[in-house]
């Protein structure tokens, strides 16, 4: 059995879905020229999404000042078929931790807010299903 200690820095309550609740993370976003997106985003955690941070097409407009060329856009396979996503650079802030990420939005269609594995793999998250809380963790080596 592995023994490891994580210190939780901040926790956010799960949001209620139709049947079950789901974890979300509250983040701030900045575009490439350093302007802050006008609202804090509560992005549902989606480990089934391989990409970075998906936004709605409306949200995405704020970040199109730092878009990647068309040949760097991505294509996703879903049950509804193939979806092409535009990709742009952004800065994400979680608590006091800032990192450069990609934001994505469907080229056709409205999209939705989701945090995928490309971002999740850069964070320590504790999904405490019993307490219904999603917490940002810090590794034991930082615990004093």
């Amino acid at each position: 059995m592995v023994g490891r200690v994580y210190r939780v820095k901040d926790c956010l309550a799960y949001r209620q879905g139709t049947l079950t609740s789901y974890p979300v993370l509250k983040i701030k976003l900045f575009n490439i020229v350093g302007e802050e997106f006008p609202e804090e985003i509560e992005a549902p955690i989606d480990t089934g999404f391989e990409g970075s941070l998906m936004l709605t097409s409306d949200d995405y407009k704020f970040f199109s000042i730092g878009e990647l060329p068309r040949d760097y856009w991505r294509r996703y396979l879903t049950l509804a078929g193939s979806i092409v996503m535009r990709v742009a650079r952004a800065i994400m802030q979680v608590g006091d931790f800032k990192l450069e990420i990609y934001v994505e939005a469907p080229y056709y269609g409205l999209g939705k807010r989701l945090m995928g594995r490309e971002v999740l793999n850069k964070l320590i998250l504790v999904l405490d299903g019993l307490r219904k809380e999603c917490c940002i963790g810090q590794h034991s080596s930082h615990v004093s």
Partner: protein, 128 residues
């Protein structure tokens, strides 16, 4: 010169003639203006298109900027920068301020050649 065109949509042609009259133009003058607009692509192209075209023109010569951010805006190559802060300053300095720009970190941003996963897509329960 005289031009004969077949199979034109009658409704569109009627609207075009009416608009030419409203603007005080002859039919031939209005057609020439429409051709000019189409050739200059000022109506049909978006910032996204012109910036991508500028990128494609330089695409094969970007290796010399490896590790740096290259920026394209208003259909032109703006420059190569070492940090995002420099990119931000360069974009803010452009007048008029672009609404769209391409920012590529050469050698760092990778093309994804295959389909990525989105398990289940956007499947959610909905109330009946």
């Amino acid at each position: 010169m005289t031009l004969v065109v077949k199979k034109i949509d009658e409704k569109k042609l009627r609207e075009f003639k009416a608009e030419a009259i409203r603007r005080g133009l002859t039919f031939s003058r209005a057609l020439e203006e429409a051709i000019d607009l189409w050739l200059k692509r000022s109506v049909l192209e978006t910032d996204l298109d012109v910036n991508n075209r500028a990128y494609l023109r330089m695409k094969d010569n970007l290796d010399k900027y490896k590790g740096r951010y290259v920026v394209f805006a208003h259909g032109k190559f703006i420059g190569a920068y070492s940090s995002l802060e420099e990119v931000g300053r360069a974009l803010k300095a452009i007048k008029p301020r672009p609404r769209h720009a391409i920012v590529l970190k050469v050698g760092y941003d990778h093309k994804v050649e295959r389909d990525l996963e989105w398990w289940g897509g956007s499947i959610e329960l909905k109330t009946a």
